[in-house]
Every structure is written in C-alpha cells, then in structure tokens.
Symmetry: C2
Subunit: 348 residues, 2 copies
C-alpha cells in the first residue's frame, strides 16, 4: 500500500548487534561452521528468523566467488521431454538454494556457443547441457572445464573422452525393447527411422535395433534404415521412399514421436492399416502419442528421474573437495520402459 520504496532491512550486522556478537560469528553460525557453540547457533537462527533475515546473495557471492546459480542449455523448453526435465531440475535445485538460468539453443550450434559465453560470463557455479544434434565439436565447453566448473551433459552427450559428467537414458535398451516388441507383434520387415549418427543417441539405438534383429535372425534392409534429422518432413520423405517400392516394411521403429506421428499420418492418407498392415513405435512417450488415433506405442524415458539424478550428481560435485575431480568418470544411465499402445496392436 505504501508509496515510498522500502529497503531490504536486516543484515548480518543487525543480528550481530541484537545478540551482542560479531558479524563473523553470525556468518559462521548461518553457514554451519563447526567452531560455533550450539547455544550460539540456535540463538542466531532464532534471531535470524525473528528479524526475517535473508542472505544477500550478491554480497556472499562477491566474497566467496560463488553465484549459487546453475546454467542450463537445452534445445528448446517446449519439447515435452525437456520441459519435464527442467521442471524437476528447477524444483530440486531450489531445495538446495540454487537458482537456474535456462537458455535455449534453438537447436543451433552457433547459439549454443554464444550461450556458453554468456553463462561463463555470468559465472555460473555449474553448467548442465543437452547439446544440439549437430554439436560434434564440444570445445566451447572447455572454458568451464579449464576453470574447474562442473559440466553435466545429459541426453545428447559428447562421444569419447571429455572431462565432464554424462547422464543419459539407456538408448541401447530402449531400441532393443522397441524392436523386440515389434518382432513379438509379428513384424518381419522392420524399418528404422533414426537420427544423425553424429549423436551418441542414435549410435546406441542403432546398436540396440541391430542386436534385436540379429537375435531373431531377421535381416536388416539398408534401404529401410535412415539417419537424418528427425523432423516431420524428413519422416514423410522416408515413408514415401519406402512405400513406393514393391516390398514394403510391416514395422517401423521411429526414433522420436514426431516421426511416429508423421508415419501414422502417412499411413492414414495411403490407406495403410495401422496396426494391421503396419506397426509403429515412437520414442519419448510424448503426450501426443496417447491422443492420436491410433495411439502410439513409445518408450518412456522418465524425465523426472533424469532431472533428479542430474541434481543429485551436481550436488555431489559441488560439495566435493575443492581439488578433487569435478566430474564422474562413469556415465549415469537412466532406465527406460516400453509403453504399449494401439499402433502395435497391443493394449488399448
């Protein structure tokens, strides 16, 4: 109601004065420093809440060279999987008193590079990144690594050696499950519409696909294997190519749900019966897969679990010895699960 501008009151000095202690002790009490008497600590805590004290992050950050801010770079927040992941990351970081700066690369490598600059200049305490599919050179993340700032890659991670932590779904397993599911549903001629092999995601999925096919002694038709950006348009083109031939697939393992949706639409237009003549699986369990007709079998990636694990690992890294390694040597693998729907003829 008041017109004038009020100041944020109550600093550490106010608590000090109220308790006839020095600001140093207050600071120690608030930061759980071991050398502070239990009685003093509780006194300080009480007075702090009584005065409504809030730590001034600018001041503490200036002194301690910590921002208590984490940077996040993702392709775009509107993708279902990422929206879920960041929601969880956001909430969990909050509990630990960290803020999150979310930046979108729009799936552009240039933008991604720029954002690393900005976030480095913002002096984030750590960086979480899901790279673009085109990112094959990761040197723009070097500055963080060199500086000793933890970097966590998830979903789309660098291949080979890199002094960072990796958290990813079990893409091999997901592909293996999906392919086996198609085979169990009776498919013999299975196509794989996948993403660029520059990305670890699609390397692993290709391997999972091949493994399942081999195990059932099914041959893989190279003309039915696509490695390209997983857009709606590319999916249509792939479908067209495959279905203008004499022999056509009876199963399609699509590496994302957009592609699966495009396949369904194509089948509808051409009068190809799904799931009778053609069975389709997607990947990611986007909510759209449940509402389209027929609904689409897909692979659940547990985005919330991914988010939770990211924060858990991050907190470990941030509290580790100052001179310890700021990354995990072993990648963290999140399990996946197949959700069966109409497009493969099973379940509702």
């Amino acid at each position: 109601m008041a017109g004038g501008k009020k100041n944020y009151q109550n600093t550490i000095l106010d608590i000090a004065e109220a308790l006839k202690l020095s600001p140093a002790t207050i600071s120690r009490a608030l930061n759980n420093h071991p050398y502070v008497k239990e009685q003093t600590r509780t006194d300080v805590m009480e007075m702090a809440t009584k005065l409504g004290y809030r730590r001034n992050h600018m001041a503490s950050g200036l002194r301690s060279n910590k921002t208590r801010t984490i940077g996040l770079i993702i392709p775009r927040v509107s993708m279902f999987f990422h929206a879920e992941v960041i929601t969880t990351i956001q909430n969990d970081l909050h509990k630990h008193g960290y803020n999150l700066i979310i930046c979108q690369s729009n799936d552009s490598v240039n933008m991604e590079q720029e954002l690393t600059e900005t976030l480095y200049a913002s002096r984030v305490d750590a960086l979480i990144a899901a790279c673009t599919l085109q990112t094959v050179d990761f040197s723009h993340f070097d500055k963080f690594v060199d500086h000793g700032t933890p970097v966590i890659f998830y979903d789309r991670v660098p291949v080979g050696d890199y002094k960072a932590t990796f958290i990813k779904g079990s893409d091999f397993q997901g592909a293996y499950l999906a392919t086996n599911h198609l085979i169990a549903a009776g498919c013999k001629r299975i196509a794989h519409v996948s993403g660029p092999l520059t990305s670890n995601l699609y390397q692993d999925r290709a391997a999972g696909f091949l493994k399942a096919m081999e195990e059932h002694h099914l041959s893989v038709n190279p003309e039915w294997v696509f490695h390209q950006e997983l857009t709606h348009e590319n999916a249509r083109i792939a479908m067209q190519e495959m279905f203008e031939k004499d022999i056509v697939p009876d199963g399609i393992f699509a590496d994302n749900d957009t592609t699966a949706i495009a396949a369904i639409e194509f089948a509808k237009e051409k009068g190809i019966g799904v799931p009778d003549a053609l069975k389709i699986t997607g990947y990611s369990n986007d909510p759209r897969t449940a509402i389209i007709t027929p609904s689409i079998t897909s692979i659940e990636q547990f985005p919330n679990l991914v988010g939770t694990r990211i924060v858990e690992v991050l907190m470990e890294l941030l509290t580790e010895e100052a001179e310890g390694p700021v990354y995990k040597t072993e990648p963290v693998i999140i399990p996946v699960e197949l959700i069966s729907r109409m497009s493969t003829g099973v379940n509702k």
Copy 2:
C-alpha cells in the same frame, strides 16, 4: 585441458592500470556516464574487449542494489502457451542483459505464495507472473509493490485495482470469434465449457460468448454452460451430462484445447459425427489440435507477441524515473485470431 583452476581475470582495476586511469573513470565509461571524454570512453571500451573484461554482477549488484535478474512465476512450463511465452521473454531479456529465474507454481496457490517469498528474497528487479486460476487474493504480491519493484501480470491477472501492469489476450474477442464461427457454420444450440469465473479470463470469454449469441438471437441454455476447472475429466463429465438428455448441443465452445480434445474423444466413442452432428472449437491453438482427427478449430493467442510486449513494457518501467509509478495504468491487450480446422467443417 589444464588441470588447475583458473581465476576469472581482468577486473575494472586491470583496465584502469593498463590505461593509467582510475577505476572510477572506467566504471563511468562502461556505464555511459555523461562526464567522460569521448576519447577516454573509446579507449576504455577497446581495452575492455582486449582484456576480455566481463562485469562482475555480484559486485555491481551489491553496490547498486540491482540484481539484473527478473523473476517469473507460471503454472507450468510444459503448457504450450507458456513455453512459447517464456522462450520469447528469455531471449528478449537476454538482449537487455537481464537474467530470468523461472519458477513453476504447479497451479497451486500455496506454491505461488512461497515462490513470491523466494523471489523477493532473491531481490529480483522485477516480477512477471501468470497466476493460478485459483488465485483470487493477490496480497502475496504486495511486498514487491510496496518495495517499488515492478510487477507485470499476464494471461491471468487480478481483477479490480492493483498497482501493477497487466498484459493479456483479448479474451472477449476470442470468445466472440469462436462463437460467431460456430454460428456461421450452422450451429443453433451452442454449449460453453468454460473455466472458473474467479478468473478474469473466463469472465471475459463468457461475455464474448453471450454477445455473439445475443447478436444472432440465439438462446443460451444454462444447462450447457459450465464454469469449472478445465481438465480432461471435467470435460468428460460435462459432455456426459449434456448428451444423456433428449436435446443435445450441436456446437461446443471449449475454453481450452484439452477440453476440446476430450470432447472429440467423447464424440468418437459415442458415435457422434464431428463436424456433421457436432462442431467443436478449442482455445490456445496448442499443436495437438492440428494432429488429432478431426483437427480442431482454435484461437491463436500469439504467445511470442505476448512475450515481446512484456519485455518492452518491463524495460520502460525499469528505466523510468526512480520515483515515477512502476506500473502502467492501462492494460496492454494482445489480439487473437481464429484458426479454422476440421472440427467445425471448414478448411482442412
């Protein structure tokens, strides 16, 4: 590559030393203070880029009591409309050198209150909020207003007087367009499945609906007007209630796309032909409306435009005289547009 941790180098003092000037002058030059010689300014700028200088936000924030951080509270990022809005806000704020802290209320009033606490403690320079539908008491935003921190509400805004800025779509117009479209398509018995009247959104839409009906001398059946939370379940219940009677609607104006989708599903199950026997419109132009069969006519709300305007207005407020009002007295209205699809029998 290096193992050791590097410090962020180059402060304002390094520039000062390199140019044999005082830090005060450097600071002034960097902040475009009028009293600094043109030659000096360019020298400073040059040296700053040469040394790769980056302002330390903690330090400048501590001194100037500005965080260059904006808080954002929304129900959830995974809602299409909000995802688009925040993407734009994020990008535009970036250009002005501001960071954004995104917080999700999960559509819970309690959470929303908590988040205002956190963001107030974070000392954000301004707050942007899309409230929950249940928020009818807005007093948890008072602390910002009292403190002189600009508050911008969008989408779901407080009704009545409040010392904040409002940015919203033209809900009256959207409802008017949708209803008129149904009427033009031949509907005589139109139902309105809407949200709680506590929210300005649904008050305005109710008015737009009534206006269009009146203008065409169509009577409104009170049993076909619903004001309830717009969930999938509630939509089904509403449909059931209406379609177990003898006389049933031939048009449904649904106030969000989830409701429209539920209506389509219900019609499919009951063998009600859409659009022949029943025409349906949604609201928000969620991408799902385009892929479902039949595709759904909906109202485009131009989320990017909303985001852009929010940042424009915010920048005005932040650069205004320190003692000026920190809000616009007139609400900013964003236009809407009807996108015609199969569910009303027009277009593809």
